[in-house]
Amino acid sequence: MGHNVLSLMIFIPLAGMVVILCLPSRAHGVIRWMGVAATVPPLLMSVWLLEHFDPQTTAPQFVQRFAWIPAYHINYFVGIDGISITMVVLTALLCFLCMFASFGIEKAVKGYFALFLLLETGMIGTFVALDFFLFFVFWELMLLPMYFLIGVWGGPRREYAAIKFFLYTLFGSVLMLVAILYFYFAADPHSFDMTQLGALLAKKIPLDVQVLLWVALFIGFAIKIPAFPFHTWLPDAHVEAPTAISVILAGILLKMGTYGILRINYGILPAATLAPFWGGHSVAFWLLAALGTLNIVYGAVCAMAQEDLKKLVAYSSISHMGYVMLGMAAFTPQGINGAVLQMFNHGTITAMLFLLVGVIYDRAHHRQISGFGGLASIVPVYTGVTGFAFFAAMGLPGLSAFISEALVLLGAWQQYPGLTIVAASAVILTAGYLLWALQRMYLGQPNEKYLGLAEINGRELFTLVPLAAIVLFLGIYPTPILNLQSPALLRLNEQVQQAAAPPPPDSIAAR
């Protein structure tokens, strides 16, 4: 495979979609297994990629590139590096697992699985695209299936949630479109090449315009992360979406925001990243570190107030994504490594959480925390897995999130001690809302209504166990994944700092 493995990963799900569309709509079983079958090759290929990826090379690997629209210098250009490899693996894995989590879908099965596969194409494409036009196409390609998946198969307020998600994300991406066009025409020669644009544009654009573009791009990505105050679509979308789609939303789509900032804001506008912004501090300080810390605290506080378990998990995502923002704004090796590791870890842990919420919702048809109680004695296995996921989300040592959050806080401490103290104290809030929920739902007097609640079944366990294994493994031994991503991230880190170097920015000098 070699040079076209990434294209195969992108387009095999699309081919699967076409096959599914040709199947008779009543053949539910065939359609479901066809959906699974289409997600297996990307998963296997992602494992193959892990095997053959050379971590020491910071340039993109497995590159495939040919002219697409020569008149406009648009190329079909894909490749992965240390920034994207973990995301690609995460996408392939979660899509595969979510196919199983979607077996409970009964309405318009054909449409659901077809759209799901289209979504996978869009997600993998976004992470591997290195041409800005191609990136944008894949980025937007995800919106359509997502809209329908939430809107048709979602909960009671699905229409509202779906359109809100759609409009918010589109709003962000059109600003990105303006920036893309600006880059294209400012670069000489005109180019959409994400790997070259940074060099082509250096010193071509005045710094204040760069900052403006940085902010325009940031708004697009911040909506996706979602960073406060652009987060309001998230609780609605996550709560109304069907389980598997919530998993995809929280596990993958949110990462696209931070991935985009790393790849595009850092990669193309390094000078603007550390440019002075306001009050003597840099752009990165205000928009990433400060907003990230706010995200951590705000998400945790909101989570604490939730009655609906799914909403609680949704707000916890906002909180956890704050660590990613804080870490990547620190521009220290630990910070940026921790941030990207946190992206992966949050992907696995939050996927577990949403899957577990789905399990209980399928049985009880509601998610009110106070509506349950003493589940531990009724469904001990389910409770065990839930406990594991909750502790993972809390960042308990020995589980993966601990490593990444610790790295983030360590890295951030060197730059922003004040913010780091706030962020670190928020861990208490996190523990608070998770433990409180655990106590209310699983401990105490069993609710008589649910005495006959069925235990978690084999299919559901099958979706959870691989994730749990990864969480545990990375909690004990994170080195393999750090090795994969570290060289590329350190280089990116250096690039940004070099671009900002003369004159030395006082904004990041230790306060």
Binding site: A71, V137, L141, V152, A162, L170, L175, L181
Partner: protein, 495 residues
């Protein structure tokens, strides 16, 4: 070039004129034999439109750039491109009419097709006119036929009201335009665009001020044709009242012809003597920017609350005129190219949308949004899917053709440095998504209720829609060939 020589480059118009006469004669013959309803006028019209396209396509390969008929018309790649596009619009309108329940039920189909073909002929002339006389004459010709076509549903009050409104607005706009034209003639002493361009160069400062006022007046006529704010008020009523094929033809063909005229007038008649602003020393760029921003914004905002599909698409087409105007405001070849590209893409997706609306109106008898409820779940999955594709394309989502069109127009704007206008444009496409999605939501997300009867669509009725949706998808991914086409067509003949 004199009249006889010019005929070689006049193929599409001649073919259409012959087709008009043929349809008219055929209709007379049928009436004489007492045959009231016949498919034949429509079929002859279809053949005529197809032959005109064939003739125009042959001209695509002719590299000549000439004056025709003295200095009345111009033959260049730009006009031929528009002739092909307008021919296709005409063909589609005839094809739609053949399948439209509104049109087929009427007794005077022969007159209908005669008028439709003449409307097409007038638009072809609009695309080539490079003389104030021809510009005015062809525009009036197109308007006159449009009024009658709009009022064609004689027993429908809405149709008659729409025709009357159209007539009154059209009269005011063309009155303003011809007044402006008389000034231009008076100031420059010339009717053909080359003479006007030469005359502008001689103008002193006070005359330039007067000339600007004349331009504004002329702009009213063009703005009316492309349905740009503030000359757009007729569009919603006319689009709602006219039979759907006519609406589609007005939305696609009339607009394209209006843009052809607008671009030629400002790039050749006014702009040929130098950059427009420098020649006239007037705030034309600012005026254009204002019109463009207002057209996009008002069109989209008004569309938000519409319940009738034709009305919604009417406001949406006003908004799209705004996007295309962005290419006009660029006042450079890149902008012309973007407009050409945009209009082509717009042709495909907007026509497709109207076509589906017509099929649904044929099946349900309604055009209002509630009658679309749960359409996908009661037998209309394919038309619903096609309409969704067209609407998402109109909203400008990749990988659909509409995205490429907007990308291209906005790109031309950014290249010119009109960042603020482009930002207004992209924000408008977010607004537009809301009302397009509302339709999609009604079709897919809403459950059909008991009173919503199942609908049935014959596969061969869907053929054209399938073709157009395939084109929307393909053009979103492979558009380099069209780029190459518009690249050669963008150079407007300039004397």
């Amino acid at each position: 070039m004199d009249a006889t020589q010019s005929l070689r480059y006049f193929g599409p118009e001649l073919v259409l004129t012959a087709a008009i006469m043929a349809v008219l004669a055929l209709d007379l013959g049928l009436t004489a034999r007492g045959i009231e309803r016949s498919r034949w006028p429509g079929i002859v019209a279809l053949a005529g439109a197809a032959a005109a396209i064939g003739s125009a396509v042959r001209l695509l390969r002719v590299p000549a750039r000439e004056w025709l008929f003295g200095r009345m018309l111009v033959f260049d790649g730009f006009s031929v491109y528009f002739k092909v596009l307008l021919g296709l619009a005409l063909l589609a309108a005839v094809w739609m009419s053949l399948g439209s329940r509104e049109v087929r039920g009427q007794p005077n189909e022969g007159e209908y097709f005669t008028l439709l073909l003449s409307s097409g002929l007038a638009m072809l002339l609009m695309a080539a006119a490079a003389n104030l006389l021809m510009a005015y004459l062809s525009l009036e010709f197109a308007s006159l036929t449009s009024y009658v076509l709009t009022g064609f549903l004689r027993h429908n009050r809405r149709s008659a009201e729409a025709a009357l409104k159209y007539l009154i607005y059209g009269g005011v706009a063309s009155g303003a335009m011809i007044y402006g034209m008389s000034w231009i003639f008076g100031l420059t002493g010339s009717m053909d665009y080359a003479g006007i361009a030469a005359g502008i160069a001689q103008l002193d400062d006070p005359s330039r001020g007067a000339f600007f006022l004349a331009l504004v007046l002329v702009l009213a006529g063009f703005g009316y044709k492309v349905a740009s704010v503030p000359f757009h008020m007729w569009a919603p009523d006319v689009y709602t009242g006219a039979p759907i094929p006519v609406t589609a033809f007005l939305a696609v063909g009339s607009k394209a012809a209006g843009f052809a005229m607008l671009l030629r007038f400002f790039h050749f008649g006014v702009g040929a003597a130098g950059p427009v602003g420098a020649v006239t020393r007037v705030p034309l760029l600012q005026l254009g920017t204002l019109l463009c921003a207002a057209t996009m914004t008002l069109g989209n905002l008004a569309a938000l609350s519409q319940q009738n599909m034709k009305r919604l698409l009417a406001y949406s087409s006003i908004a799209h005129a705004g996007y295309a105007l962005l290419g006009f405001v660029v006042f450079a070849d890149a902008g012309v190219q973007a407009v050409l590209f945009y209009l082509t893409v717009y042709y495909i997706m907007n026509l497709g949308a109207f076509w589906v609306v017509m099929l649904i109106a044929n099946a349900t008898g309604h055009e209002d949004l509630p009658s679309y409820r749960g359409l996908a779940w009661r037998g209309g999955a394919l038309p619903a899917l096609a309409l969704a594709i067209f609407l998402f394309s109109l909203a400008g989502l990749p990988p659909l053709a509409g995205f490429v069109g907007k990308f291209y127009v906005f790109g031309a704007g950014v290249e010119r440095g009109l960042i603020a206008l482009v930002v207004v444009g992209v924000l408008n496409s977010v607004v537009s998504l809301y009302y397009y999605v509302r339709v999609v939501k009604t079709m897919f997300l809403d459950e059909p209720r008991a009173e919503d009867a199942p609908v049935h669509f014959a596969l061969n009725d869907l053929a054209a829609v399938g073709l157009l949706s395939a084109a929307t998808l393909v053009l979103g991914i492979r558009f380099d060939w069209l780029l190459a086409r518009v690249e050669t067509a963008r150079r407007i003949f300039a004397g």
